[in-house]
Amino acid sequence: MLDLQEYKCLGAALRVALDRWPDEVCLIEADRDREKARFTYRQFRDAALPLARALQDASFPIGTRAAIIMTNQSKWLISAYAIFFCGGVLVPLDYKLTPVEQIQLLVHSKAEFLIVEYHAWKAIAQASNFTTLATRVVIVTEAPASADRAGAKRWEDFRGPGEPCFVTREAKDPACIVYSSGTAGRPKGCVLTHENYLEQCMAVTPIFPFSPGDRYLSIIPTNHAIDFMGGFIMPFTGGGAVVHLRTLRPEFIRDAFTRYKITYMAVVPLILTNLQRGLRERFAALSPMKRRMLNALISINRALTHRGPRLGLSRALLKDVHQTLGGSLRALLVGGAFTEPATITFFHDLGIPIYNGYGCTEACTAITLNDQKPFRPETVGRPVPRMEIRTRDQDAEGVGEVIVRSKTIMSGYLDDPEMTAETIVDGWLLTGDLGRIDATGHLQLFGRKKNMIVTEEGKNIYPEDVESVFEGIAAKEYCAFATNFLWPARTMAGEQLVMVIRPESGQPVGEQTAASLAERNRRLLNYKRVSGYLIWDADFPRTASLKIKRAELADQIRKTVGREAVIPL
């Protein structure tokens, strides 16, 4: 493992890593059961440097912003390294956003370069706001030979002759602009510095150390802070390897575990519950006798691991179960959204080393980690090393807003000093999440102060961002809220959005309005949809500039009606 204290920037650390373990495998790309590419550290360097040279030949001054829109694959990491090598700022964008949203973020980030998979570029080139795109150079991967690339260059041919010039950055310089959420409304581009990443990596690697032979299965999109750290920076600075799988189909994920002897994987709760379902189905198919035996072994394992995981013992006791996950798994990390304690308990009882965590992009990923020593599935664990954590404005039960301070906290939101000042106060990041820290330092979460939701897939959704598709519906005014913001609930599970409708005077909200709401709702990506609507028979309170006073409206609604008034869509 590199001593990251010696480095000021990601490019420098990665550059040394590529020379430190030249013959170790650093990256494998598989699609279903086919291995598409495999790179040693030397081969990775040899693939990235001509790309870096070509970027520089296309004029890439220090600090140039370059965006990536790709599914998890080898060209993602090769391109990212080339950008860091040239002293650029990486803008990793979510490939699951709509093309219109991607363009909005490209414009917001002022990215001059875009490296993008062909299918995504094709969709972007057909988007209604394509003409607003101002990227100077677009490089597409895997474009068919005859494809119309709409002016883009082919990644595979984008190679410059000669050595590129390595450009170093200072610790406080921006490394990435990561959009934690927001597209149409007010994009939240977290500016994360080289120091943020190096600090986070130093804090987390003692818990999840990488060395040659260790392999991380990368299935959370790499633009997500969790995968960028766990599926790039951590393994690469430790001599480990990343395995990319270009499908999320459960049968191939299971296959990859065994085939590649995976040691680490990070998942969002949605994938974890899917794995749980798969294992449950397997258990249900066992004969009654085998089922009884399994239950007995699970009970023994549970009793023997209550104080902390005992991996060797669990692997011996529940060999078949562990074999389905390859038999080499050292940690299954779950983050990105709230995980039900029952799901954590299920895996813990099987002796699968599960770590749930809590974090946010603004803090460069992890704030707390739960190593289950002792078993506390109702909490998100204790702060990672060098992370200060407090709660403020506590209620009678000790629940308050979680605030954190560390060198991993972003420098701010891109081009939004006002929102930055509201979020980082005296060096403390106000998370907007409500929690309680107990005597042992464990954090338990109890909901949110802010008007937003996080889905099981780890997507942050702000109500303001879904409102634009409802423009033109038969209503005087409308406004979206997180249901738990309107009616606080002490949970972060099953969060939903609700649309509040103020009908035109004298016009009842009938089937037609509901149908038009449902139709508009379907234009949103499935995880962004509102779950129902609420009729509100009074004008919305507004500011002098006619903006809706959301907090005041929420207060009025809360005092008048309850959740039962929501009509499902």
């Binding site: 599914t71 270009r246 499908t247 999320l248 949605l270 994938i271 899917n274 379907r522 995880y527």
Partner: protein, 80 residues
């Protein structure tokens, strides 16, 4: 050559059988996440089933932004 109507019908039949929802409850323009009560990973399961039936390979990204049976059938049709 299979028509889009036949492809759509096959998609509906297979979705009905795979998720055990009566065929008559499914319509081509339905939002399959809602009608079938499934999440995005379960939708990928359906994609695997459809691949087997149509003898094609559909990358995961083909499902991106698709939430109704008709559009899904169109994506399949373009690869037949």
């Amino acid at each position: 050559m299979t028509t889009i109507e036949k492809t759509t019908d096959d998609v509906l039949q297979l979705a009905s059988a795979h998720f055990k929802v009566p065929r008559e409850q499914l319509r081509a323009d339905d939002d399959f996440f809602k009608t079938l009560g499934i999440n995005s990973l379960q939708a990928l399961d359906l994609l695997t089933r459809l691949e087997q039936h149509f003898h094609i390979e559909l990358p995961d990204y083909e499902l991106q932004g698709v939430s109704d049976f008709r559009t899904l059938a169109e994506r399949i049709q373009s690869r037949l």
